[in-house]
């Protein structure tokens, strides 16, 4: 076994096990050459493999393999598919490699020493994998209208160009959104994070509750549930979109020492609330649309009244268009959350503290 291989194997071991890896390899010089030494090396490799193949890593590898398998679309004739494959691969690599940053130092590095930070980081990762799965399923359903159909575009070259261009921009936007969420999760839960455990807990919990509230009001993208008066729905929507981030900002800002700290705390809580709410909303709503596509409001693919309405093409198009708007919430949610969280922080009356040196944010 070469020294370089030994160093690589030891480097990938968890820090608490590295000394044990060095210990078993240090014995090699005492083991007689030949079969005993080969057996010792095999045992050392087995020991290292046991440490590396942990349940979270197995789960991560399984998630990556499942997403690639589901999203690869073998045999696709859609010109957008090769680009979407590259985008999918990039996102899977991004999500799979992100946990490695947990060993690094810096603003995006090791997780803070609190249970809340660990839960938020793990929950955030799990939510992003779920989001990727949702996007793959959505792409498979809504993109089916471009596959193996008797669709004959009037201008095939232009259609091809638009499909490829749309796939490039869509893949770049999705990768950018995923990377931004990964960075935000790592930053907010790292040891250098400005967010206290209370901010993480309140922001995350309020966000998830807000997302669930909005989902309950619009489970398949319809703005109004038929069973309730429109005014009630609008009021509840307002509470979910506007009231929740402000409330989270107020609750967190009450712990601040100064008005500036209150606004900063409100912004952090709003960022968490908006991000967690958008993730919860998208992860719940789009699968519901895919499960019940006939309940998604139909869009006219062709306004000519002589053309049949409610075709499979129209359903796939309607679900795709409605879901795209929800994907926009992933960008809008955190930005709106920050703005409303700052409002919540500014609305909070801060009483100067002289005897309580609690963390301000």
């Amino acid at each position: 076994m070469t020294g370089a291989l030994t160093r690589v194997l030891l480097a990938v071991l968890p820090a608490r096990r590295r000394a044990w890896g060095e210990a078993v390899l240090a014995e090699l010089a005492a083991v007689p050459p030949g079969r005993p030494r080969r057996a010792w090396i095999a045992g050392a490799l087995w020991l290292i493999a046991r440490e590396l193949v942990t349940l979270p890593r197995v789960a991560l590898a399984a998630a990556a393999a499942a997403c690639l398998r589901l999203g690869w679309a073998p045999g696709s004739t859609d010109p957008a598919t090769p680009i979407q494959r590259v985008g999918l691969l990039a996102i899977v690599v991004l999500l799979a490699a992100s946990p490695l940053l947990s060993r690094a130092r810096g603003d995006l590095g090791a997780v803070a020493d609190s249970r809340v930070a660990r839960v938020v980081r793990a929950g955030g990762y799990a939510a992003l994998w779920a989001l990727l799965l949702v996007v793959i399923c959505l792409s498979g359903y809504a993109g089916a209208r471009f596959e193996h159909r008797s669709m004959t575009p009037a201008n095939a070259a232009q259609w091809h160009s638009e499909r490829v261009g749309g796939a490039v921009s869509g893949s770049l936007i999705l990768f950018g959104v995923m990377a931004a969420y990964v960075a935000a999760i790592l930053w907010l839960t790292s040891r250098r994070s400005p967010a206290s455990p209370a901010t993480l807990a309140l922001g995350g919990a309020w966000g998830v509750m807000g997302g669930i509230l909005l989902y309950a009001l619009m489970p398949v993208g319809s703005p109004v549930l038929p069973a309730t008066p429109a005014a009630v729905d609008r009021l509840l929507l307002g509470v979910g979109v506007v009231g929740v981030p402000i409330a989270a900002g107020v609750m967190v800002a009450r712990r601040a020492a100064t008005a500036d700290d209150a606004r900063a705390a409100g912004a952090l809580a709003g960022l968490l609330t908006g991000g967690a709410g958008a993730l919860a909303l998208v992860i719940l709503t789009i699968p519901t649309m895919l499960l019940f596509p006939s309940h998604v409001p139909l869009k006219w693919a062709n306004p000519d009244p002589s053309v049949p309405h409610g075709t499979r093409f129209e359903r796939e198009m309607s679900v795709g268009d409605a879901a795209d708007k929800y994907m926009g919430f992933l960008l809008l949610g955190p930005l709106l959350g920050i703005t409303l969280g700052v409002v919540g922080g500014a609305l909070t009356i801060v009483e100067p503290r002289t005897d309580d040196p609690r963390p301000v944010i």
Binding site: W20, A26, A29, A30, V31, A42, A44, W46
Partner: protein, 102 residues
């Protein structure tokens, strides 16, 4: 009251090997020869015993010529008590006592 920990026969054999001369520090390869265990089985047992506070470990002092420093193992007082409590379960050593380091 904690439940009694049920050790495997392999773990018991490691405890017994270390208990032969509890004041001595043992090398991993010596323990492997005494117990007949492969390195892939021996070291996870040593790790668990160390985490339970039954075995203590340290690195060999000084840098020997031509080879890396070796890791040394010895029973703690708690480990000696556990080993003394279950001598009947210890598997017989398959090899004679090898090189030991004081």
């Amino acid at each position: 009251m904690p439940l009694p920990h049920r050790d495997s026969a392999q773990t018991a054999s490691v405890l017994a090997a270390l208990a032969n001369e509890p004041a001595q520090w043992c090398h991993g390869y010596d323990l492997a020869r005494q117990t007949g265990l492969k390195s892939g089985s021996l070291y996870p047992i040593l790790i668990r015993l160390a985490e339970r506070g039954l075995v203590t470990a340290r690195w060999e002092e000084g840098q020997p010529a031509g080879r890396p420093r070796r890791h040394l193992y010895r029973l703690t007082d708690a480990g000696a008590a556990v080993a003394a409590d279950r001598p009947a379960r210890a598997a017989p050593a398959r090899h004679g006592l090898a090189e030991r380091t004081a």
